[in-house]
Symmetry: C2
Subunit: 483 residues, 2 copies
Amino acid sequence: VSTEAHRYAAIAEAISDLIRGGSLQAGDALPSVRSAALQHRVSKGTIVSAYSTLEARGLIEARPQSGFYVRGRLNAGLAVPRSEIKYPKVVRLDQQTQVRDALGDLCGTHATSLGSSFPDPSLYPLDVLGRALVANVRSTEAALAGTDLQLGLPQLRRAIAQRYLELGYVVPVEEIVVTCGGTEAISLSLQAVAQKGDFVLIDSPTFFSGIQLIKQLDLNVIEMPTDPQEGLNIGLLDQTLSTHRVAACLLMTNCHNPLGFSMKEERKQALVEVLCRHDVPLIENDVNSELHFGPRHIRAAKAFDENGMVLHCGSFTKSLAPGFKIGWVAAGRYVSRIVNRKFATTLGTSIPPQTAIAHYLKNHSYDRHLRSLRRELQTRVNEMSQSVARNFPAGTRITTPQGGYVIWIELPPGTDSMALFEMAVSRHIGIAPGPIFSPLGSYRNFIRLNCSHNWSSKLEETIKWLGSAVSEIAAAAPAESRI
Amino acid sequence: VSTEAHRYAAIAEAISDLIRGGSLQAGDALPSVRSAALQHRVSKGTIVSAYSTLEARGLIEARPQSGFYVRGRLNAGLAVPRSEIKYPKVVRLDQQTQVRDALGDLCGTHATSLGSSFPDPSLYPLDVLGRALVANVRSTEAALAGTDLQLGLPQLRRAIAQRYLELGYVVPVEEIVVTCGGTEAISLSLQAVAQKGDFVLIDSPTFFSGIQLIKQLDLNVIEMPTDPQEGLNIGLLDQTLSTHRVAACLLMTNCHNPLGFSMKEERKQALVEVLCRHDVPLIENDVNSELHFGPRHIRAAKAFDENGMVLHCGSFTKSLAPGFKIGWVAAGRYVSRIVNRKFATTLGTSIPPQTAIAHYLKNHSYDRHLRSLRRELQTRVNEMSQSVARNFPAGTRITTPQGGYVIWIELPPGTDSMALFEMAVSRHIGIAPGPIFSPLGSYRNFIRLNCSHNWSSKLEETIKWLGSAVSEIAAAAPAESRI
C-alpha cells in the first residue's frame, strides 16, 4: 500500500511539474486513465488517485464524458484584482494620519481567523524542532562563551549562507546577522539606512506591519502602484526616483503579501540596476520566498546585488518554525550599522531557537519539508479560491498567488470591507480589510484571506456566509459607488 | 552521609543568615567546634564542615590557637574604591564622542575572560530548561493562535506578576511586557520616554551597554556621581533636576553593575518621590536583583511607584536562563507606548524560551535554585577578592558587592587600565577596563572583574599575573599622576 501511495504521489508530482514548467499548457488534455496506467505500469486506481490529487490542487479539471484537462486559470475562473493606486502617492505619516493599528490584532483573535497573517502551525515540524531544542540546550554554554551574540550563532549563519548557495546565489556569511524574526530584520534595516523624516518607497498594497514600522520610526512613505501579477513598474520607479529624494525602498519581491506575485528574475535585476543608479538601498522583505509554488527555487533581487545595496531580510517563521521568531538580514555594505543597532536594541537573539534551527537544517531534509508544505498550501489556497468563486457575488476578483497562503480579493465596487469586517467580528470571523494595507486607507473594497487552514465544511460555511454578507453590503452601497 | 551533608549545609546557612542579618557582628567569636557539636547534636566533623564552608565563602576566619571569628570586612581587607565623578557631568554624545565599542566584545573572546559581563553558564539549570523546552513545544501552537505576541506569553506574564508578589510588592500583569532580554526592555523604555537629543540621567560608572544604547538612540547623558556603597546622592539628584531638563533616569538599583551595591529601600523610596516631584520617569535596570546576597528578598524602586512612573526592567538571563534572552518591562503608565514600539521593532518574543521559563517557574523551585546560585556566586566573589588582595600592589581598592558576580577595582593612582587591557589581551586574558563604563572615558585606573567562574589554580595564576602587571604599569606611571 505504501509503495502504491508513494507512486501516485510521484506521478502527481511529475505532472504538476510539467504544468508549472509550461510543458503542459492550459486546456491540454491529460492521457486517459487507461493509457496513463499502461504508460506508468501501475493500476488504474493509482492514476485515478494521482488525477484526484491534481484536481484537488486546482491544477487539472475533469470534463464529463471527456477526460482530464489542464486548468486554464488557477484563480478559480475569476478575474484578477485591479490596482487601485495609479500613480506614486507621497504620504507624510504625521500625527494626523490614521494608521489603523488595532485591526491587525483583532484579525487573529477569532475562532475562524482568516484575517491573521500567520500560517497554520500544524503544517510545521514542531516535534522535530522540539527534539532539536533539547538535544542542543547544552551548546548554549558554548555559544555564550563566544562573542557572536549580536551576529547570531555561527553554525546558523553558516547554514543560512549555505541555503543561499542552494537557492542559486552567493551571500557571504559575514553579511548575515541573525535577528529576532523578520520584523527585527526589516526594522534594523530601516534604521540603518533612513533618518527620521526620510521617505521610504513602498509597494501598494503592502504588508500591514511594514506601515506600522515606518510610522513608529517617524519615517514617511511614497506608495507606488503595484501590478497584482508583476509587481512594481520599474520605469515608473526610475522616474519617481529622479524627482523624489528617497532613503530606501522596502519591497516584497516573492510570494508578495497580500498580492501573491513573485517578481520575475529579469525584473528583479532591472530593479537592482535602477536603484543602484539612483544610489538607493533596497530593503528586500523576502520572508515568504521558500513558499514559492514553482518547480524551481526562485532567486531574490539580492542575487543581482553587486554593490552591497540590498538588505535581504529572511525568516524561518513561515518556512520552518513559527513562534521561534528567528530571522536574519544579509545586510550588504550596511552590516556594521545593523550590528551596532542590534547591540543597542536587543543585544542578541535567543540562543536555543537558533541552535534548534541550525540542527534541523543540518540533520533533516529542509527541502522535503518545504515541498510538502508548498503542496499543502497550494491545495488549501486553491480550495478557498474555488469556494470564494462559488459563494461571492459577481464582480468579485481574486489573485492567483504564486506562493504563500493568502488571497487578495477585490469585492464588487462600493462594497465597504470595513463594514464587512465589523459584521464578521460579530460572527467571530476574522478577515483582514483592505484599508490596513495602505497608509491612507485605500482598498476600501478589498479583503485578504488566510488560506493556510485545512479545508473543512466549517470553512465552506464561513466563506458562504462571507459571500452573502458581501452581496448584502454591495447591494446597499450608494449607486454612484457601484459604477 | 546525605543526612550529614544536609545538616552541615543547614548549619552553615543558619550561621550565614545570622551574620548577614547582623545578629553576629564582625569580630564576634563563634562557638567552639565541641560546644557547637553538642548544641546542634551533631558530630564534630559536621561542625568542621559547616565552618569550612563559611570560611570558603569569606564570612568567617580561623585564628590560630583561638577559634573561628566573623570576618570584619568581606572585601578582603582592602579599602573601598572612590567616586571619580564629583559633580553631575553633562555629556553630549555627538559624533565626536569616542564611545568605546570594540572592547566590550573583546573582553569575552578570551580563554580567561574576566572582562565579560556574562555569568558562568554552568551555574544554571540548563538541562531542566531543555526538558521544559521540549515538553512545551506543542504549546507554541496554542500561543500562536492567541494575540499576545507583542505582550508575551500569558502564562509567563502571570508568573512574573506572581514573582513580584513573592518579592513583596504588587505589579499588575497588565503592565508587564515580555521582551527579547533585558536590553530590549531598557531600549524600548528609553524609546518610550525620550526623543532624539533628550538628556538621560545615568549613574556613574554605569553598565557598558547602557551607554552604547543611549548613543545609538541619539540621546545625551547627564552622568551623576554615584557612591560605590550607597548609590546616587538623592539630594544632588533633586538639585540637578531643578536646573536641567531630563527625559528620564536610567539607574541600576540592585546589585549594581559594576559597583555591586544595592540601594537601601528608604533611598529607593526617596528616589521615586524626587522623580515624581520633577515628573521624570525612572527606567529601573533591575536585571540583577535576584542575585542579592542578603537573607531576604530586596524590593526595587518599582515597589514605591504609585504613579506608574517607573519602568521596571527585569531579565531571566542572569537569574535562570542565560542565552534564552527573555526579559520584561513592567512599564507603568507607558505600557501602550512600549507595545507599539515593540510591534514595530521585533513584533514579539521567541515563544519556546518563554514556555520553557514559564514551565520552570511553575514546576520547579526557583527559590532553591537562586539560593544555591547566590551562595556559589558569593563564594566565588570572595575567592577572587581575596586573591586580588594577596596579589595586587598597595593602593588597590575593591568593592564588596552585595550581590551579583563582578568586583570593581581601583588601581593605584596613575595606573592606566587601557595599557593593562592591552597587555592582558596579549596573554589571552580579558578584563573590562574602567573607561568603558563612562561616556567620556573616566575611570582610567579602574577595572571590573567577572568572578562567576569556579575558582582554580589557573585563575589564581591569572590574578597573580594581573597583579604584577598592575605593579609594573603603576611604577612606570609619571610621578604627578601618582599623587
